[in-house]
């Protein structure tokens, strides 16, 4: 077994955990989700989901992690193996490796775009280039081709991945923790500067056509009818799930480096609320107000229609900063710099469990494990680069960054409340706690949180076209079947809305073929990790005999 690593400081641990949670979604996804799902009315289900699902899941994951760490396991297969007597529990833990590895593959690529855009902002590229055309050419997207081999983007991807591998290879305290201690405060300062500048833009300023407060109003003005729509509740619960990075296996890993009696209740609450601060207060006041000031509300409403601020953040904002005169390069560098910091503190958290698995279960050195992680991430990430136009990136995002998280979140909370047991579970959460954890969370963790996630899961599985649940039920009762939406799990699985086969009339590979091929690769990766877990445990059994 590898020498046991520890966190250097408690504040470092909390910042690393918060850095894991704070990601690009805090700035790009949250404001668009809020604005498109009832504005201020979105915040009520959002905060309820945070208390009934987010915080309990954080405590569960910290508890599973610290418990597993006492047995020398810093990745989820070993942790779950120690939660009960069933041999299959360790295979539930496979999700905690699979998700981290596969999300790291596409997320590091995305992170590399932000690094590249820092460079291009400083160079002043966006003073003349059209960002939309630039983005397409950066990714190597050409008309009628499902493949791309963009050398510059590939170069930035390799640099970003190498930086991740280097930081990970330095170890927990000197690598991950140090990066969080630098990255998170820097991100908060950059975001605060941009928020203050953005919200103080006035109608007389160059290029400003509307008050930024109109954009803030778009995010916050409550539409009470939104509270009655299931889609609002599902969007809020989904946002909480993804923003806290629960269901990944990375929180478990970080918590496993704690000693048995070190607090988890206060640390988890602190990291969780810090993420909320960055998301709601900073993230909610940045992108949409600035974009509204320069583009007008109608354009911003149209750009965020799908619930994502990605197009605004990457394709529009670089040009809008040109209105800031000499400050434009610095503003662009701060915007993409903060996204990069948000990204790297999250991708490091994805790498650490993979390193820990090979260190603990295969007795590999940290540096070798870091290089292995880099190699595997590059191989999978290359698929996202090469097949980006064919939709491989989106497939990774959906199946690993969305679907897999919810499945693992559901399984782990059931395993914790019902197999590990609430008696032991509660003792684990409250041991060494520096705050009094309200007892009603015992009930919440056992019953409410699983039910909450189950509703989100089922909702995502069968979400009807356009999110019209009433119409879908009516259609079902009329005997016309359930209209699965193209973005539901079922819709994705069966390519609802698309009639194309794997080859088109000219014998060329179609998007459907690439989507199915990507899914097959992901399935093989899952099975491959399960096989590695099987081999590790078989070897242990032999050695014990």
């Amino acid at each position: 077994m590898a020498a046991r690593e520890r966190w250097g400081t408690r504040v470092g641990l909390v910042l690393a955990m918060a850095g894991n949670a704070v990601g690009l979604g805090n700035f790009l996804r949250f404001p668009a989700q809020a604005a498109q799902n009832g504005g201020g009315a979105f915040l009520l289900p959002y905060l309820i989901s945070f208390v009934l699902m987010g915080i309990p899941l954080l405590w569960v994951e910290w508890a599973i992690g610290r418990h597993g760490g006492q047995f020398g396991h810093h990745s989820t297969p070993g942790m779950f193996d120690r939660m009960g007597r069933y041999a299959w529990l360790k295979y539930v833990g496979v999700f905690g490796l699979f998700t981290n590895l596969t999300v790291a593959a596409y997320y590091t690529y995305l992170e590399s775009w932000t690094l590249a855009y820092v460079w291009y902002s400083l160079k002043g590229t966006f003073r003349t280039a059209d960002p939309a055309a630039f983005f397409g050419s950066y990714l190597g997207v050409t008309r009628d081709s499902m493949f791309a081999l963009p050398t510059v983007a590939l170069g930035f991807f390799v640099v970003t991945l190498a930086l991740n591998v280097y930081i990970l290879s330095r170890g927990l305290a000197r690598g991950v923790e140090l990066a969080a201690k630098i990255g998170l405060p820097m991100l908060i300062v950059f975001a605060a500067v941009l928020v203050v500048r953005g919200l103080t833009l006035g109608i007389g300023d160059p290029g400003v056509m509307e008050s930024p407060l109109t954009g803030l109003n778009f995010v916050w003005h409550p539409d009470p009818s939104g509270l009655l729509k299931p889609t609002t509740w599902m969007a809020a619960a989904g946002q909480i799930f993804f923003t806290l990075s629960v269901g990944m296996g990375s929180i478990h890993c970080y918590a496993s480096y704690l000693r048995q009696k070190q607090d988890i209740a206060l640390n988890a609450a602190s990291a969780g609320w810090l993420n909320e601060f960055v998301e709601v207060i900073l993230g909610g006041s940045l992108l949409i107000p600035i974009a509204t000031a320069y583009l007008g509300l109608q354009a911003v409403q149209a750009a965020t229609m799908g619930g994502s601020g990605f197009a605004l953040g990457f394709l529009t904002l670089p040009t809008l900063f040109n209105n800031w005169g000499a400050l434009a390069p610095a503003a662009g560098a701060m915007w993409f710099g903060l996204l990069f910091m948000a990204g790297i503190t999250s991708s490091l958290a994805m790498g650490q469990p993979i390193l820990a698995f090979f260190e603990d279960e295969y007795r590999m050195s940290r540096i070798r494990a870091a290089v292995l992680f880099g190699g595997a991430t590059f191989a999978l990430g290359f698929l996202c680069v090469w097949l980006y136009p064919g939709g491989a990136f989106d497939e990774f995002d959906f199946w690993t960054g969305t679907f897999s998280l919810v499945v693992f979140g559901l399984l782990e909370v059931i395993a914790f409340g019902w197999i590990f047991g609430m008696e032991r579970g509660w003792a684990e959460i409250t041991r060494g706690a520096d705050i009094a954890v309200p007892r009603f969370f015992r009930f919440v963790i056992r019953y409410v949180t699983p039910l909450f996630i189950l509703v989100v899961f089922v909702g995502a599985f069968i979400q009807p076209t356009g999110g019209h649940w009433g119409a879908a039920l009516w259609s079902l009762f009329q005997g016309e079947g359930w209209p699965f939406g193209p973005d539901s799990v079922m819709g994705r699985l069966f390519h609802v809305g698309s009639a194309e086969g794997w080859l088109d009339a000219n014998g060329r590979v179609t998007r459907t073929a690439i989507q199915d091929g990507t899914r097959t690769v992901l399935l093989l990766v899952f099975l491959g990790i399960a096989w590695l877990v099987h081999l590790a445990w078989r070897r242990k059994a032999r050695e014990a005999a």
């Binding site: 400081t9 408690r10 504040v11 916050w220 609450a269 909320e276 207060i281 520096d434």
Partner: protein, 40 residues
């Protein structure tokens, strides 16, 4: 901004700032109480 948007923003920001501050200060205070020994 409408008054209801201001109200919601004010209430939500207050709740989030309060709990973020309270818990993060709690971590710092607990570190101080262990005589500044932040060793983990």
């Amino acid at each position: 901004m409408t008054w209801s948007a201001w109200l919601l923003l004010g209430v939500t920001w207050t709740i989030i700032a309060y709990f973020t501050g309270r818990f993060f200060l709690g971590v710092l205070r607990a570190t101080e109480e262990s005589e500044g020994n932040d060793e983990y």
